[in-house]
Amino acid sequence: MMCRRTMVAPLCAASALTYALLAAGSLDASPQAGNAASPDGSRTRARVERLASEAFGGREAGSDGERLAAAFIADELARIGARPLPGRRDMFVPFEFTAGSRDGKTAIVITSASGPAAGRRFDNQQVDALSFSESAKDISGPAVFAGYGIVVPESQTFGYDSYAGLDVKDKIVVLLRYFPEDADPAAKAILVRYSDLRYKAQAARQRGARGVVVITGPRSPNAGRTVPLGSDTAAAGSAISAVSVTGDVANLLFTGTRSLDEVQKELDSGNPHVAGFALPLTISLTTDVILEKGTARNVVAYLPATPSASGVAKPWVVVGAHYDHLGRGTHGNSLAGGNEVGRAHPGADDNASGTAAVLGIADALAKQPRRRNVVLALWSAEEIGLVGSAKFIAQPPVPVPDIAAYLNYDMVGRMQDNKLTIQATGTSPAWASLLERANVAAGFDVVLQEDPYQPTDVASFNLAGVPSLSFTTGAHVDYHKPSDTADKIAYDDLDRIAALGATIVERLLAQDQPPAFVKVEQSSQTAGRTGIRVFTGTIPDYASTAKGLLLSGVIGGGPAEQAGLTKGDVLIEIAGQSITNIYDYTYALELLKVGTPVKVVYMRGSERRETMMTPGARR
């Protein structure tokens, strides 16, 4: 399960999916084994253990481990009786992808008539290209400071325009990261939505700026530091050269004017409409963002219809899961901490479990007559942005309109309390009825979620107009960590999930009428940051003036209580966001994802402690 890309960098890693399990809220330890015994001869455990083994090294897209895993999966598929797709010799479908970005020879040259800044050149030690920057040489222009560089659209009925009265055409815009630190809460709540660096760069470009230099002000978090490139691979360029610089360089830019500290203080505390001003120097930018390319491979096979699917409406059903994971966690989305850093991430649940579910479904279907063809698709490069499934849709081996339905499995190995979440049920009116019938025998405590805009491969098929379902047992404390190991998988339940899947596919294969597709409007919840969606079960002390967020209590059984938090604790950091007051906390909550564990740092008395908390859904 990949992390969502719409978030600011430090949160990205923490913002994968998984939801309603919070409904269960319960991390109560005894995973209740289903009554259904493991089918005789089930290879589920063996498959998960193999995929999660050290030999495959965490199955990072493009790695040797990924290739070995793909070969293993292809062997299993062949053993089941699946074949390469018509016209193909084997089951491997390689594709190129962007594995990440790194800085090459980015530099900044400052020229001015006189003073310490004159003619100074800085390179990688003190300047980093932003990950979405264009790569370009010697983009130069007069420097102009544009405050926080925030433009709030008029539709917000809240005037804030850092560019009001400021001409930045053909100039290099210098702007502050984040948003005014001391704005009142209502203002802050609006400003935060327009303070994303991509958005700021776009605003500068639209006003004719040639380049952007981001500085992290002395009064802001991460003061004086550059913005790390991270693993932002959703890196459609911004069509503008953009860099961040250290505090030393920033101070040089302000020589001959008021000090940066003073200027930021005024922007933060006083009238937010402090005008920008020209800096008495010229800046030349050279930006060099190197995209690291890799080659990954989907494994795609099929079980042909028996005797043939000719004359059947929409003769294909696709069942899929991603098999790639995070390797050793070197490319960003790992949540490994302490001595776990750098170790292989076995991804037993994420997503050896889903891979095993697909293979288990194939086992069952291979033994039966089939009125439609069943594609078995194991995706790679899911963890870096659903790349494998998107490639399948972009270059479909069978016509997309001929696909009756897609079933997706992502993290189905950690069943708790018999709860199975089924997502994307809004993509067809046929699903509820079909699932109800299939589940009577399967007996899961099913939670339905209509939303198909999930951070897993089901999103690719939904966008292509294919009625889809995605199955998950939800996130857990080992999510995206080296501790996501095969010994923690609930194998009996995993077999039950595969059995339910086989039943659903059987029904789909038998139906004359394939399910109708319904487009689900993307809710504001998944479209962006539009308010708090999560439930943490904290009861803040509103009267406290202590630094941090003092808890006056926690709601029994809620995520905070389960994370071990209690009355009197002071939260100081959540998901990498420092918390100094309730407004910081509100902002931090706005960025959390339901079901995704986040690190919480808190003070208990004078002791600094850390825990993981999994926010639930606010109803």
Binding site: A23, R437, T538, G558, A617
Partner: protein, 386 residues
Amino acid sequence: MTPDPIFRWYPIAVKPLRALTLVILTATGIAAAAAQSAPPAQASPERELLSRVRRLTLEGRRAGEGYWSADGRRLVFQSEREPGNPFYQIYTLTLATGETMRVSPGYGKTTCAFIHPTTGDVLFASTHHDPRSRELQKEELDFRASGKERRYSWDYDPEMELYVHNAKTGALTRLTNAQGYDAEGSYSPDGRWIVFSSTRQAYGRTLTPAERKQLETDPSFFGEIYIMRSDGTELRRLTTVNGYDGGPFFSPDGTRIVWRRFDEQGLIADVFTMKLDGTDVRQLTSFGAMSWAPYIHPSGRYLLFASNKLGFENFEVFMVDIDGRKEPIRVTYSDGFDGLPVPSPDGQQLAWTSSRGGGREGQIFLAQWNHDKALALLAAAPERKR
């Protein structure tokens, strides 16, 4: 077997303190930090009695009132899932196959079904003979489409009459024919009798001005328990106390009737039993809350019911010994609605209606029931506070 007091009472079902907090914080734009009022669902204590909890109904806006066939192979329930009809219709679900079948006409309103113990016929209440049925469906659909939200209220439609669906022929036979709400019917274990609730006493006579006003504001006030033969003959009225008497079922040995009685204001309800002639009335609960939807376990030793003792909107399932000597014991631990508990004929499973799947609307859930544990807990319970 009452239709949804939970929905009926939503208009005033607000937790004042929490609601106030939310309003204030929303106004200052930091609702979020405080909107932590959404409570977590399903704590583990209920695993003592309920295991392998699973959701049975998934289709439609909501479902409820699930009752077992005598052989335990089928459930009959009501669900809003008929295309074009916003009201409940009646369905049977065959547990071995997962297949459902509608047994009601598909139009009009229906409620509260029960399966005949020997013939498999299905008893339910319906308004489909009302010529305005389709018009009323459209009105309701239009209202919902308008985006306005009327908190659902059960209207005690005086057109409700009892029908029986013949399992062999599929034919519908009308059993009652009296102005007033006739519904909430169930069969005796031998299938020869039906108990039900009716407001017929408020119709066909001259009402006092106070009664007329009462009928307009809350017709359920006139609900009383009636018994008749399963062919609709030999009708007898069993209760005569003001306030809504409803949801009657026979005891497993067929000698008594369990039901719930609301007070005159319709806010407090308690569970009672009586003999089939209406004598020997015994009150089994006294929470001072809305305790209703009782159903006796097939062992005959205790019964399950729902109560909002723990919070106006928070209904939980409780159980109490058959004589009501001991304090009732809580069964479910889940926010929102848990009610209408119905044990399977073998006593090993429990079907009930719950909103634990998300949202406000209920669906039917199923779990394994630990009968031995239930007996042990009941034996250890203290004397009931009265």
